[in-house]
C-alpha cells in the first residue's frame, strides 16, 4: 500500500527585543544563571505583567509577512501546569483569541508553487531552563530565559513530505531573519520546531492518528526525524498495528524517535483569559504603520534579482538566502553594473574565503565597493581574471583596495601589443622545433607557446592579446 504523510509544524521563534515580554529584564543569551531576572519574571507574589509593545509589533510583522489576518482584538490566556522552569505555575500565552490567523507561506515544489497554510500566530512567554546534575540527583533552575518573548507559528496539516517540511521551515526562518525579529539561532533555541505527523493510504481523505515530535534542533534533524517517523508509522500500519497518539522525542545519536510516555501526556492546561492583562486592540492605522516599515521579503527579492539582474534562479536563491549578502551584492552591482560577474565573484571566491574562516558576509574584509572596482578593472582589461583571483585573496587577507594590491604587487596587466609582440617573437625564435611541429599540424602546441609567453611576463600579459598575437605570429603572418 502506498501512503501519504500529513505533517503540521509548530514553530517557536524568540523575538529579538532588548527586554522580556512582561518585564524590563534583558533577553541576552548566555548570561550567568538567574542574572537576567526580576520579581516579575521570577513570578514572586503580588507582581504584575506589563506587555512589551515591541513584541506585538514584531509579531505583527511576521503575520503580515505570512499573509495572515491580524485580529482587531486579541487576548492573553494562562496555560496552567506545574514545572520548576515555570515560576508562576502558568505560562502567559494566547488561546481563544490569537494575534493573527489564516495565513500562508509559498513553497517551490517541483517547479510549481504550493501554499502551506498558517493556522495562527500567537505571542507567549518562554519558560526557564533546567540543568540536571549528571552525578547527583539534583537539578538547577536558570530563569534567564523565563519571559523571553516568543511567537508560535502553527501551520495547517498541509505538508506532505519531510523535504517540504524542511523547505517550509527554511522559508519561515528566512522571513524571520529578514524581518530582523528573530536571530534564527537553532542551537541556542531561538528557533524551535515541533511536528505533528500522521500517515494515510493514498487517496484517503481522513487523517490518521498523529504523533507529536519534539527535540529536533536543526533543519536536518527535523527532516531526519520526520523520515524516521513516517517509516515507523508505515511499518506499524503495514503490519496490522495501530498508531498511538503520543509525544515522541527525537534522539539524534540514535537516529530514532522514542515515546515520552510521561505524565506530560495527560495535561489539562485549564486555559482562561489572564485577568492581569487587558485585551490588545490592533487598529488599521497601527497595521498600516507596521506594513510601511516592512522590508522587502526574501521571495520578492529573489524574483526581483532574477528579472532585474538577469541572474539564474539558483544564483538569486543563494544571494538572497542572507539579507546581508543580498545587500552586499546590490552594493557591488550598483557600482560595477556587472551583475553576473558580481554574482560569480561573490558566490565563488568571496564565499569560499568566508566559509574557510567561518565568517559571514557581515564580517567580510572586502568592502563591496572594492569588489566592484576589482570587477571593473577586469572588465577594463587592467587585470586578468586569473590575476584577480590573487588580488581578491590579498584584498580579503589585508582589507586593502584593489589598486593598492595591484600597485604593491606590480600586478598590472601588460596590454602593450608592441611589447608583447617583441616578447612572443623572441619565444618563437627560441623554439624552432616546436614552431615547425605546430605548423605541421600539432595545434596542441599553441598552449605551450601561451605558457611560455605568460612565463616570460610573470603572468601579467593580457591573455586575449597574447592569444591574438600568437595566432597571427605562429601562422607567420
Amino acid at each position: 500500500m502506498e501512503f501519504d504523510a500529513v505533517i503540521g509544524l509548530e514553530v517557536h521563534a524568540q523575538m529579538l527585543t532588548d527586554t522580556k515580554i512582561f518585564c524590563n529584564c534583558s533577553t541576552k543569551f548566555g548570561a550567568a544563571p538567574n542574572s537576567h531576572t526580576c520579581p516579575v519574571c521570577l513570578g514572586m507574589p503580588g507582581v504584575l505583567p506589563v506587555l512589551n509593545k515591541k513584541v506585538v509589533e514584531y509579531a505583527m510583522k511576521m503575520a503580515l509577512a505570512t499573509n495572515c489576518n491580524i485580529n482587531s482584538t486579541c487576548e492573553f490566556a494562562r496555560k496552567n501546569y506545574f514545572y520548576p522552569d515555570l515560576p508562576k505555575g502558568y505560562q502567559i500565552s494566547q488561546y481563544a483569541y490569537p494575534l493573527a490567523e489564516h495565513g500562508y507561506v509559498e513553497l517551490e515544489v517541483n517547479g510549481g508553487k504550493k501554499k502551506i497554510g498558517i493556522t495562527r500566530i500567537h505571542m507567549e512567554e518562554d519558560a526557564g531552563k533546567l540543568l540536571h546534575d549528571e552525578h547527583n540527583p539534583v537539578s538547577y533552575v536558570d530563569l534567564n530565559r523565563t519571559g523571553v518573548p516568543l511567537i508560535e507559528i502553527v501551520s495547517e496539516p498541509d505538508i506532505r513530505s519531510s523535504e517540504e517540511a524542511a523547505d517550509y521551515l527554511k522559508r519561515l526562518h528566512e522571513i524571520l531573519v529578514y524581518l530582523e525579529i528573530c536571530d534564527g539561532n537553532m542551537e541556542e533555541g531561538s528557533f524551535r520546531c515541533d511536528a505533528n505527523v500522521s500517515i494515510r493510504p493514498k487517496g484517503q481523505k481522513e487523517f490518521g492518528t498523529r504523533t507529536e515530535l519534539k527535540n529536533m534542533n536543526s533543519f536536518r534533524n527535523v527532516q531526519r526525524a520526520l523520515e524516521y517517523e513516517i517509516k515507523r508509522q508505515q511499518y506499524i500500519v503495514e503490519n496490522g498495528g495501530a498508531i498511538v497518539q503520543e509525544t515522541r522525542l527525537w534522539d539524534d545519536a540514535q537516529g530514532a524517535t522514542n515515546s515520552m510516555r510521561g505524565k506530560e501526556e495527560a495535561h489539562d492546561y485549564r486555559y482562561f483569559p489572564d485577568p492581569d492583562l487587558v485585551p490588545v486592540i490592533v487598529d488599521a492605522a497601527w497595521i498600516d504603520k507596521i506594513r510601511a516599515d516592512m522590508p522587502e521579503l526574501p521571495q520578492a527579492k529573489r524574483e526581483r534579482f532574477i528579472s532585474e539582474y538577469q541572474i539564474s534562479a539558483y544564483d538569486a536563491g543563494v544571494l538572497t538566502a542572507d539579507k546581508a549578502l543580498a545587500q552586499y551584492y546590490e552594493e557591488v552591482v550598483a557600482i560595477c553594473a556587472k551583475p553576473k560577474q558580481a554574482a560569480n565573484w561573490l558566490m565563488g571566491d568571496v564565499m569560499k574565503f568566508l566559509n574557510e574562516d567561518k565568517k559571514t558576509i557581515r564580517d567580510c574584509p572586502i568592502a563591496a565597493a572594492s569588489l566592484a572596482e576589482m570587477i571593473n578593472l577586469i572588465d577594463a582589461g587592467t587585470i586578468s581574471g586569473k590575476m584577480a583571483k590573487d588580488i581578491a585573496e590579498e584584498m580579503y587577507r589585508s582589507g586593502k583596495k584593489p589598486q593598492q594590491v595591484i600597485a604593491e604587487k606590480g600586478m598590472v596587466q601588460i596590454t602593450d601589443e608592441a611589447a608583447l609582440a617583441k616578447t612572443i617573437s623572441s619565444i618563437i625564435d627560441a623554439n624552432p622545433q616546436q614552431l615547425a611541429d605546430y605548423r605541421a599540424g600539432k595545434e596542441k602546441l599553441f598552449g605551450y607557446f601561451v605558457g611560455q609567453a605568460m612565463k616570460a611576463t610573470q603572468g601579467k600579459a593580457n591573455p586575449q592579446i597574447v592569444n591574438d598575437l600568437l595566432k597571427k605570429m605562429l601562422a607567420g603572418k
Binding site: 520579581p39 503580588g46 507582581v47 494562562r78 533552575v141 489539562d268 482562561f272
Partner: protein
C-alpha cells in the same frame, strides 16, 4: 483624649500646630498595642523598632516644615501587601518566611506621604474568608465583643482601627473583605473602583476582583487616605489612567436633591431584624440630608454569589500555583519533584484555600469550562449592566453592608456556605468593578456595630465620600468606643 484615639485629621492639626510629634503619636499607639493586642490579635507582626525609627525621621522632616498628608500617622498594612525587607505572609503557612525584595505601589505611596508602618495586620489566609479565622496565625477578635469575629478577610486591619491599635489601615477587598469587616467593627472602609488603586505588590487572590482600600475612623480620613492611595500605576496593566480628583473636596458637601437607589433585591429574606431596622433608619436619614430615596432593581442579584464562587476560585487556583516550594516560602521534604509539590501544598495551605483551589481547578477543567467559568463570565457582564442601568436612575445606591452583625468565633467555620452568605451584599460590587463604602449606622441591642453601604458608578469615589460625609454629619449615629 489619648493620641491613639484620634483621627488622621485631628493628629495632622496637632502636628501642624506643634502640639504633638510623630514619636509621641507612635509611642501612644504602641502603648495601646501593648495594652490590647493580646486580646484582639490584630497583627501578625508589630513593627515597633521600624515604626519608632520612622517616627524619628518624620519628626526631623516636620521640624524642617516638611509636613506631608500622613506625616507621623501610624498605619497598619494588611499582610497581603508586599513590604520590602519585611515578612509578608498573606496569613499563610506557605509564605510564613517570605520576605519580599520590593514594596507594593501603595506602600511606596504611603511611605512617600509620611505614613509610619506600625504593623502587618492579620487576615484570612490568602484573603479567603469572611472572619479572619482561616489565618495560619490564629484568629483576630472583634474589639466590640472578643467572642466574635471581626469580619474578614481584612479582619486584622479593621480590628486594629476599631481597637485604636493604629490610626488608619490598608485592606484589600475581593468580595467584601474591606466593607464587611468595617461594618462589623464599626468603622469606615472603602473599596475603590477596580483599576483606581494599584494592585502591584498586592498578593493576588482573584486578580479581576481584588482592590486595595483604606480603613479609617471617619469619612474625612477616608478621603485623606484615598488622596494618597489612588492613581494610575504603569506597573499594572489593569490600572486605569483617568482623572484622579482631590477626594477631600467632597467632605462636608451636601447631597441636596440626590437620588438614593434602594435595590429591592437586597431587602428580602435572611436579614437580621436589627440590621434591617438600622438600614431603614439610614434610608430615613437620607431624606434628612435632602436626598430622595428611589426603589431600583438589580435583577441578577441572586446569581452574584454563584458567579463569584466560580470566578474567584478559578483565578485563585491559577494565582496560587506559584506556591510550589521551589523558589521561596515553605517547602516540605519530599521524594521526587511531584511528591515535594504535593506535600508542600498539602501542608502549606489551609483547608479553605485548598477548597477554593479545588473548586477553581474544577471550574476551569476541560469539559467544564463552558458550563462554569464561561457562563459565570457572561452572567458577570449582566450584573455589571444591572448597575449601569441602575445608575441611570440614581446617584448612589444604599444597601446593608452585611446581613447580620458579627457572629461568634467558630460559629460558621464548619459551614462554608453560611460563611459565604455573609458577603452577599458586597460581592456584586467587585463583580461590577464599581466602588463601595461602608460606614457605621448604629448598634444592636447587645452593642454590636452595624454598617450601611453606599455604592456608586465607576470612578465615582467622590460621590461616595460626599454621601457618606453627609450621612455621617446628619444621621446622628451614636458614637461609641469598644470597651476593651
Amino acid at each position: 483624649m489619648e493620641l491613639y484615639q484620634s483621627t488622621i485629621h485631628e493628629l495632622q492639626d496637632k502636628i501642624k500646630e506643634g502640639k504633638t510629634t510623630a514619636t509621641e503619636i507612635t509611642c501612644s499607639v504602641l502603648q495601646r498595642i501593648d495594652a490590647v493586642e493580646e486580646k484582639v490579635h490584630s497583627y501578625i507582626r508589630v513593627l515597633k523598632e521600624e515604626a519608632l525609627a520612622a517616627a524619628t525621621d518624620a519628626d526631623k522632616e516636620i521640624k524642617k516644615g516638611n509636613i506631608k498628608p500622613l506625616s507621623g500617622i501610624p498605619v497598619a498594612l494588611k499582610d497581603i501587601v508586599c513590604t520590602k525587607g519585611v515578612p509578608t505572609t498573606c496569613g499563610s503557612h506557605i509564605l510564613h518566611n517570605f520576605i519580599p525584595p520590593y514594596d507594593a505601589t501603595v506602600v511606596e505611596k504611603l511611605r512617600a506621604a509620611g505614613a509610619i508602618f506600625i504593623g502587618k495586620a492579620n487576615m484570612d489566609e490568602f484573603a479567603m474568608g469572611s472572619s479572619t479565622e482561616t489565618s495560619y496565625f490564629g484568629p483576630t477578635r472583634n474589639p466590640w465583643d472578643l467572642e466574635r469575629i471581626p469580619g474578614g478577610s481584612s479582619g486584622g486591619s479593621a480590628a486594629a482601627v476599631a481597637a485604636d491599635e493604629c490610626i488608619a489601615s490598608i485592606g484589600s477587598d475581593t468580595g467584601g473583605s474591606i466593607r464587611q469587616p468595617a461594618a462589623l467593627c464599626g468603622i469606615v472602609g472603602m473599596k475603590p473602583t477596580y483599576g483606581r488603586v494599584s494592585r502591584f505588590g498586592l498578593i493576588a487572590f482573584a486578580s479581576s476582583l481584588d482592590q486595595i482600600g483604606p480603613f479609617t475612623k471617619d469619612v474625612e480620613d477616608c478621603a485623606i487616605m484615598m488622596n494618597v492611595l489612588a492613581g494610575y500605576d504603569p506597573k499594572e496593566s489593569t490600572s486605569v489612567n483617568v482623572e484622579n480628583p482631590d477626594y477631600h473636596q467632597f467632605v462636608g458637601r451636601d447631597i441636596q436633591g440626590w437620588k438614593v437607589g434602594i435595590p429591592k433585591e437586597y431587602f428580602v429574606e435572611g436579614i437580621d431584624p436589627e440590621v434591617k431596622a438600622a438600614i431603614e433608619e439610614s434610608i430615613k436619614a437620607m431624606e434628612k440630608c435632602g436626598a430622595q430615596s428611589v426603589e431600583i432593581s438589580l435583577p441578577h442579584t441572586q446569581y452574584c454569589l454563584a458567579v463569584y464562587y466560580i470566578i474567584a476560585p478559578a483565578e485563585a487556583s491559577s494565582n496560587l500555583a506559584r506556591y510550589d516550594g521551589v523558589k521561596y516560602g515553605f517547602r516540605a521534604a519530599g521524594g521526587d519533584l511531584l511528591d515535594m509539590y504535593k506535600k508542600t501544598r498539602m501542608q502549606g495551605f489551609g483547608a479553605e484555600v485548598k477548597r477554593r483551589i479545588m473548586i477553581g481547578t474544577y471550574a476551569l477543567s476541560a469539559g467544564y469550562y463552558d458550563a462554569y467559568y464561561k457562563k459565570a463570565s457572561q452572567v458577570r457582564a449582566l450584573i455589571k449592566k444591572d448597575f449601569e442601568e441602575a445608575f441611570k436612575k440614581c446617584d448612589v445606591i444604599l444597601t446593608p453592608t452585611t446581613p447580620t452583625p458579627a457572629f461568634k468565633i467558630g460559629e460558621k467555620t464548619d459551614n462554608p456556605l453560611q460563611m459565604y452568605l455573609s458577603d452577599i451584599f458586597t460581592i456584586s460590587t467587585n463583580l461590577a468593578g464599581i466602588p463601595g463604602i461602608s460606614l457605621p449606622c448604629g448598634f444592636t441591642k447587645s452593642g454590636l456595630p452595624i454598617g450601611v453601604q453606599f455604592l456608586a458608578g465607576h470612578f465615582q469615589e467622590g460621590k461616595l465620600i460626599q454621601v457618606a460625609s453627609a450621612y455621617e454629619r446628619k444621621a446622628q449615629v451614636e458614637k461609641r468606643r469598644p470597651g476593651l
